[in-house]
Symmetry: D2
Amino acid sequence: METRVEMKAQHISSKEFDELFEKVRNWGKWGPDDERGTLNYISPNHVKAAADLVRSGRSVSLAIPINTVAGPDNPHPATHYMVKAYDIQSERGEPQFVSDYLACEFHGDCHTHIDALCHIAYKGKLYNGKSTTNVTSRGPKIMDITAYAHGIIGRGVLLDIPRLRDVKWLEPGEAVTREELEAAEKAENIRLGEGDIFVFRTGHHRRRLEVGPWNNGYDGEGKAGLDPRAILMLHDRRVAAFLPDGDGETVPSGVEGVAYPIHALQIGAMGMACSDSLQFEELIKVCEEEQRWEFMVVAAPLRMPGGTGSLFNPIAVF
Amino acid sequence: METRVEMKAQHISSKEFDELFEKVRNWGKWGPDDERGTLNYISPNHVKAAADLVRSGRSVSLAIPINTVAGPDNPHPATHYMVKAYDIQSERGEPQFVSDYLACEFHGDCHTHIDALCHIAYKGKLYNGKSTTNVTSRGPKIMDITAYAHGIIGRGVLLDIPRLRDVKWLEPGEAVTREELEAAEKAENIRLGEGDIFVFRTGHHRRRLEVGPWNNGYDGEGKAGLDPRAILMLHDRRVAAFLPDGDGETVPSGVEGVAYPIHALQIGAMGMACSDSLQFEELIKVCEEEQRWEFMVVAAPLRMPGGTGSLFNPIAVF
Amino acid sequence: METRVEMKAQHISSKEFDELFEKVRNWGKWGPDDERGTLNYISPNHVKAAADLVRSGRSVSLAIPINTVAGPDNPHPATHYMVKAYDIQSERGEPQFVSDYLACEFHGDCHTHIDALCHIAYKGKLYNGKSTTNVTSRGPKIMDITAYAHGIIGRGVLLDIPRLRDVKWLEPGEAVTREELEAAEKAENIRLGEGDIFVFRTGHHRRRLEVGPWNNGYDGEGKAGLDPRAILMLHDRRVAAFLPDGDGETVPSGVEGVAYPIHALQIGAMGMACSDSLQFEELIKVCEEEQRWEFMVVAAPLRMPGGTGSLFNPIAVF
Amino acid sequence: METRVEMKAQHISSKEFDELFEKVRNWGKWGPDDERGTLNYISPNHVKAAADLVRSGRSVSLAIPINTVAGPDNPHPATHYMVKAYDIQSERGEPQFVSDYLACEFHGDCHTHIDALCHIAYKGKLYNGKSTTNVTSRGPKIMDITAYAHGIIGRGVLLDIPRLRDVKWLEPGEAVTREELEAAEKAENIRLGEGDIFVFRTGHHRRRLEVGPWNNGYDGEGKAGLDPRAILMLHDRRVAAFLPDGDGETVPSGVEGVAYPIHALQIGAMGMACSDSLQFEELIKVCEEEQRWEFMVVAAPLRMPGGTGSLFNPIAVF
């Protein structure tokens, strides 16, 4: 009980947060017009090393099936319609075709998606210190999702916190510290390193499957995520990308004046390739069977000019 | 000039086509409820062998940027809207967010997408002999796109026909025969084999970039594709998947009563994982630089229950 | 308390319902290909008489503002996006423009809309005995919403049941009988007659405004509506159209095997122009002030070929 | 031939245009927060008088059927999908339902719609001198389409210019002067007056029906409309609303630096209720038969909070 209470996000003052922001800030590191951010950490050798992890040939989706049902965490259900079915014959003879239509406002806490670097601004600045005036109602002029058009490929490292804690999932509001991430590394005999893709499991989706959807925002129950200071570890280790269930944020965040500090730090300061709302329920079974928590990851956003992100289906290959 | 004329699709009678259909029919081959079709040819060893092709760590998108501009080959332009921009402050303080909305009826000849096996019926039957009544206006009950949820991963083999012919692109209506595919293999010193992903280039997208969009349907100029008899080669070689620019079809097809014979054969008879409207303009540069026409392919459709296909962004890794 | 219980829908057997269906069935009455149904009751004189009711020149919308917020009665929230705002200058100089995009799956219990006659089938038959095979996944071939393209214009007669009962609204599950409709006529000193547009108020929307949205379906709390036998009165009186808050249905209906009997009778049997989910909170104020419950109604669905209905904004003019 | 040339828009200097803007400017006339603009000219008596025009009871739609086909004047085709058809049985027994989905970016030159006053800004100001900062990417805070929620009702007066000129339609680029409007009044024995709804016919839609769609923008063939100085007549006469085929604009406009002067004057300066892309092909038949060019108009935009306009179906009643 009391342990649970201690796991809540600790208070961080506005000043302390801004110091943290400065520490992990990569602005200018890869040039003034860089749009790849921490993906620059992934060298050809890292890609090759990731491919070398493919041994059993198994692959696993890290995406939640697209959700068309409105709910407390899905205010913008995807809309999916058949264009036509086989109840009528094609006008052009054989073969016959059916088709469909999909529409989605994907940001939020329900649809598996990746963020573009333009998705986040902190105090009026995008990653690399660029002005928010670059992102108008006509769409972003810089740092849209096409910066990731050729895919995000590297070694995925799953740190499975519920496994470490021997619970099914973390409860809303719980924050994972750097110490706990390092404990998970030890438990899995693995180490997050340069150019790695950090797969972070809180059990968010497992909880949704078993308990049902909940409002995970500030006017609801909240959600489990990282302690903002744990971002220092990702910075020190030169982690390239972030694949969480949930979205990495602890709600409430504990940070004075900053509702979503993880996004501010990862995307705004570091330029990290970040995604939201994945699920690892299939992945953890394979990890246990293979007894390894590293694998090749290939993730490819849709190639949408002006996209502030994209639905996607990241794949782990073992 | 005359050569060009000879390259047009040859006439195939309805009877001959049905014999072809029978020859390549895989119905029942992998059980009565199989939904993976020719992906069954990809063994764990094939995946591992594909990953072994990753040497330089380069990756290339095979997708066309999503197109929101209506045109003769884009009657259903994607709709893309910003949900909000940075012109207003977030209600919740820092950080600020922008987001967007994407909607698409993706089948057709403009949006890079993959077909689900339910997308095609020939003479009232889906792949594996299933009835079209399984696909209603509420969506497919079987063989939707989630059959490919865990990704399509294997060795991609590009047969670049314009390179073989030393032209920029094939002209609409031209059909590529088995003999020409074999000649391309020879020219590239490669051989399509079991479990391979056949990347087929006619230069369709290059033509679009240089000449502009055209109506490639039966009421327009048509398009270049495969000779239906070339499908026998894909069947004999146990090819697993098909990634073309254009969609593999020659229009007009030359087949009596069958407007789109390639889809009928590949999807309806063989159960092949097929996609449409890719582009290889970036790919061919890398192939030339690396002097190899084989690479790892990872392709992951969105995980849409009931989808008859999906927008996607297949990635080639070298 | 006990009165409330009595107000619940009484049981109607399947046989009795089918007899009711036969009694009010207008099939063939206006020819085999009629698509206007009970709108045929509105003669030019009725339109003129309706216009003669315009005396004070006041007009009132009967529509609920379009709702983009998902909730228990709004599983398909409308999607509304700005296309662009004034944060950027137009490319073409002055003036500058902003625009927006609206998308809606409007049937259901939240969006003010009108049904086309093709929207309902009972035992495999549409109004006028037409086969449901006329309505495929490509849309209806007959009886789409364009049958009402030139507007529905006539005398609106509001029967305000909460006013009669001296309550704010009817509770979910309560059914209004013919006797009660006639009592409302008496209380308002008015009589529904041939060619009239029946405006039926249960207070559904008032309840939503004050209590909040609720699930009004069979798996929820239900809703207040008409007793199916009250439809006989509408038939006898030759009523032309129906504008309810809620949708006229009592849930649960009390009818054996028929979840939504009012739609079956009104649309399927009678061919009545019916709408759903209006609001009369502004209307009743004007009615009280003017001390009359009759007014001109003009209602114009969007002119959508193939529409099974339409969002609309019906107007009462006093 | 030469006559045609003379009919082209005459040159108006930037200075002259701004003087025109000043002359017709109604800013402040109805209070600093007015959102109804020239609709204020419609008194209760005008509504009553309009209703008195209803004599034969005929009604006519002024809307073009919603267009889902992309073309040179329809870059944003409406998207319309069936949600389900009758090919499957309802889960809840009888009756069965079909439904559909409609999505539209309606501004432009193809979809019959009305503009909200927030739709237009001239030199950074909306109608009534309000700042464009009131209209952000989250939508307008003021002057959205709900200002017209209770309908636009009044006397419609059709001035049919092709009838006056004895041509089928005006050619693109032709501009109608005040003198010609007055000549049309004389020919129809009618006079536009205070509180009237000006129905302005150039034959734009007839041309589209007979010749096919064309690009009517600055990079295309243009379109026929009003001479900007004719707006003085609408101002002098206290006209309340504007219903044109086309959109009232002559393209090219002839005005230095102002591509669409009619919108700037009508909406930006006058606060006039303006619509675009209507059709009067059915209307003119009724006008000829009734030998009158005046009728009641009822027009009701969808009640969309934040809408910059709305699809609608205005109705003329005779």
